[in-house]
Each structure stands twice: as structure tokens, then as C-alpha cells.
């Protein structure tokens, strides 16, 4: 069945894409389309004009000056395969391999996953933990914001009309530190699911195995993916013992506000995300 769109514009460069977006303020940009095509088909979104970003040169990964930059139209598959990303943010590489199944990963893009702003977006918790920033460009100029500022609610972002996600920037890590990082999600099965709860963590460890700095971000348990600041603050300076793990899970409950929906009740999400934190801490303790 054809989608109810009148025109698809296909800019051949990023500059042209920005111009075309300014000329068509109600147009929707489309990259991989794995979310948007279904939304258009089901009438959850509508647009007369689509701006296809395949020719806009936004599929790239570069590493320089302590920053890994990922173009907005880079696919999950390319991210999962990238050595630079596996070094700078292993949790993102892991999460990219858990978005849908492989054919989806070969099509879905990072910019699309973020712009769609699902509370369950799997790439968001790893990027929040990495304190990634986002480069936004419109005909009026460009700005760089923290990823945490991008999400304003379920399906909602602070993107202005005509603004495009050009790239996502991740600071690279100091190799001399001992860091445990990972991503895990819970759902009815391993692949091809929308997360019921997800968690990314980055623990920097001291020589004695206690946690110098904890960064934790969670998905599907709040209106947007969020950092778990209460749990993080509690964990800083503590060894990941069984008692600390239990107490951390209690603090985590203050960071989240899950809801009941078709995929899971709120209480289950609370339990599931606690289990994910407990596992991450146990693994950190085991080295």
C-alpha cells in the first residue's frame, strides 16, 4: 500500500537538505524510515512532503581530537561494526545490535532512533551515559546540545521546524582508567522487541574495586530515557557488594516513573530495571 504522501524531495547534499527543509516547514525528514514508514502507514503521523536524507552524506563515523562523531543517517549495523565506537562507547555498539533484528539494523539510523524520541529508544541510554552531544542544523544556524536536552516527552523533541540532526558526538575515553560499561534490555525475547526496560552503565573503578564514578541511564521507565542520578550518587565511592547493590536498586526507584501499558505493568518495569542494575554491578565486582 502506498503511503499518503504527495512528494518526496531528495536533496543531494546536506546543505541542500537544510535549504529544502526551510522551504517546506511542514515536511518530515526521512532517513532509514523503519519507524516513520510504519507511523505514516498507520496514520500516527502524516506529511504531504518527505525529505529523503539518503543522498545528504549523513552516513559517517569519524574519530578525531578526542571525539567520535556519528552522522545522523549512520545505520545501527555500521555502528555495531565500528571499531571507533566499540572503543569510545561499547554500550552503544551493543545496543545497536539489539535494535530490531539484523535487517532493521541495516536500515535504521541513529538520528532516526533519537528523533523518534521513543522512551524505549535503545541507543539513548548508552549515549546518555557517554554524555553525548547532538549537532543540530537549520537554515537559521546551528547549535550543539546535550543529548539529555533533546528529549522533551514521549515522541517529542526540542527540534525546531526545519532542524536536522547532523551528527552525534561522543567524547572518547581515557584508556588508562578501569571502566566497566555495558547495555542490557528486558523484553519478551532477545531480538526484535521493544524494550520493557533497558539500562546502560559506565562504572569507573578504583584499584580496590570500588566505584569511583557511576553513570547509569535507563529506558522505557520514564517519559524519556533518563540518567539515574539518585542511584549514581549513592554508588559513588562504594564497593559493589551485595548490600550496596540492594540499596542502589532502592535509590534507582526514585529516578524512574514507569507506566502500565500493553507491553508491561509499571511494577514489572521497576523490578526489571533493578535486576539490570544488579547484574551490571555484579559483573563490575567480578571484573
Amino acid at each position: 500500500m502506498d503511503l499518503a504522501v504527495q512528494r518526496v524531495l531528495r536533496p543531494g547534499s546536506f546543505e541542500e537538505a537544510v535549504r529544502v527543509m526551510a522551504e517546506h516547514p511542514h515536511a518530515l525528514p526521512i532517513a532509514g524510515g523503519t519507524d516513520l514508514v510504519v507511523q505514516l502507514r498507520d496514520g500516527r503521523r502524516a506529511a504531504d512532503v518527505l525529505v529523503d536524507l539518503s543522498g545528504a552524506g549523513l552516513a559517517f563515523i569519524t574519530a578525531r581530537n578526542g571525539v567520535v562523531e556519528i552522522g545522523g543517517a549512520t545505520t545501527m549495523d555500521a555502528i555495531a561494526n565500528s571499531r571507533e565506537i566499540r572503543d569510545a562507547c561499547p554500550a552503544l555498539a551493543a545496543a545497536s545490535r539489539l535494535v530490531g533484528a539484523w535487517p532493521i539494523q541495516c536500515r535504521a539510523t541513529l538520528g532516526g532512533n533519537l528523533a523518534n524520541a521513543s522512551p524505549a529508544a535503545d541507543t539513548a541510554p548508552p549515549l546518555l551515559v557517554a554524555e553525548a552531544s547532538v549537532h543540530l542544523v537549520s537554515a537559521d544556524g546551528d547549535r550543539r546540545i546535550q543529548l539529555s536536552e533533546l528529549f522533551s516527552g514521549p515522541g517529542e523533541t526540542c527540534l525546531r521546524p526545519g532542524e536536522l540532526i547532523r551528527s552525534i558526538m561522543i567524547p572518547t575515553q581515557h584508556l588508562q582508567r578501569t571502566v566497566r560499561e555495558g547495555f542490557a534490555k528486558v523484553g519478551p525475547r532477545w531480538e526484535q522487541i521493544i524494550s520493557v526496560a533497558s539500562l546502560a552503565h559506565r562504572f569507573e573503578l578504583d584499584a580496590d574495586g570500588s566505584i569511583r564514578e557511576a553513570r547509569v541511564a535507563v529506558g522505557s521507565v520514564a517519559p524519556t530515557p533518563v540518567r539515574a542520578r539518585a542511584a549514581e550518587q549513592f554508588l559513588a565511592g562504594k564497593p559493589p557488594t551485595a548490600a550496596v547493590r540492594r540499596e542502589a536498586a532502592r535509590h534507582l526507584q526514585d529516578d524512574i516513573s514507569p507506566i502500565d501499558d500493553v507491553r508491561a505493568p509499571a511494577w514489572y518495569r521497576r523490578v526489571a530495571v533493578s535486576v539490570l542494575l544488579d547484574r551490571a554491578l555484579t559483573e563490575a565486582a567480578d571484573g
Binding site: 500500500m1 502506498d2 503511503l3 499518503a4 504522501v5 504527495q6 512528494r7 518526496v8 531528495r10 526521512i30 532509514g32 524510515g33 523503519t34 514508514v37 510504519v38 505514516l40 502507514r41 518527505l50 529523503d52 539518503s54 543522498g55 549495523d77 545490535r97 530490531g100 533484528a101 539484523w102 535487517p103 532493521i104 541495516c106 536500515r107 532477545w190 531480538e191 526484535q192
Partner: protein
Amino acid sequence: MGSVTVSLVLNGEQRTFEVPAGRRLLDLLRDDAGLTGTKEGCGAGECGACTVLLNGLPVPSCLVLAASCEGADVVTVEGLGGDRPLHPLQRAMVERGGVQCGFCTPGVVTTGAALLEHGITEPLEQGRRLAGNLCRCTGYSKIFEALQAAAREPGDD
């Protein structure tokens, strides 16, 4: 509805189509190119029946806008064997009973052929990569046997 022109290499042949702006690659293949091997199961990216190779990688053609395939290389189940009548995986699927009703098969063999092309032969990893291709009939064992057999085949390129 406006229309768009899409020029692409389809199963090794340069082709140009004039299609409605909102056409999906799946419908271009089935309705405009007459290649009905590619199937529509869910139309939502969940079943894998519509999988084709886009620039060498498997994608759900039900989620791909035809207009965004300008200049792309697309291979469907009909073109998978290239010059040969059948791709080694297609032959192995037939020989080992990996096909029952056949509805999932075009998607399974395109994803599977990409797995072999990328040298992914470890069974657990093959299972993960094929998890988006649902099959109601075979129970998957025969499909994995066929993948292993095709991977062993000497000089299949």
C-alpha cells in the same frame, strides 16, 4: 499523488521506474517490476518475509521508501543466484527441507545469503541475525542445517 522516478540496479539490470511518491520498495518490486517472490507478511518490519538485499545488506522492503532507492543496488530472491539458477543456500534449503509453505523463504534466503557473504558462520550468531525472519512451518532446524551446508560448500562464489 505526485510521482517520482527511481533508477536502480535490480538483480543486476539497470532499471527505471515511475512510481507514486509514497510507494514502498516492496510494492515497486511486486507491482511495478513483477517480482512477486518477495512477500508481504506484516508490513511493519516484524516478520522478515519482505527482506531483500539493498546495497548488499538485508533490509525489510516494506519499510523502505522506493524513492530513497535512487542509484541503489537491489537483489531479490529471483536474482540471488546471479548467473546460476540457484544460490547455494537456495539449493541447500531445497535439499534439506528448509522450505515448507515457502512464505518466509525469500526473506530467509536473502538474509541467509548476506550472512554467508559476510562470513558469519557461527550458529548462535547466525540465529541472532536470522531472528527477524519468522517461520511458522519449519521449526528453523532445517534452515540452520541448510545454512551450515551452504557455508561448507567449496567455491560457492
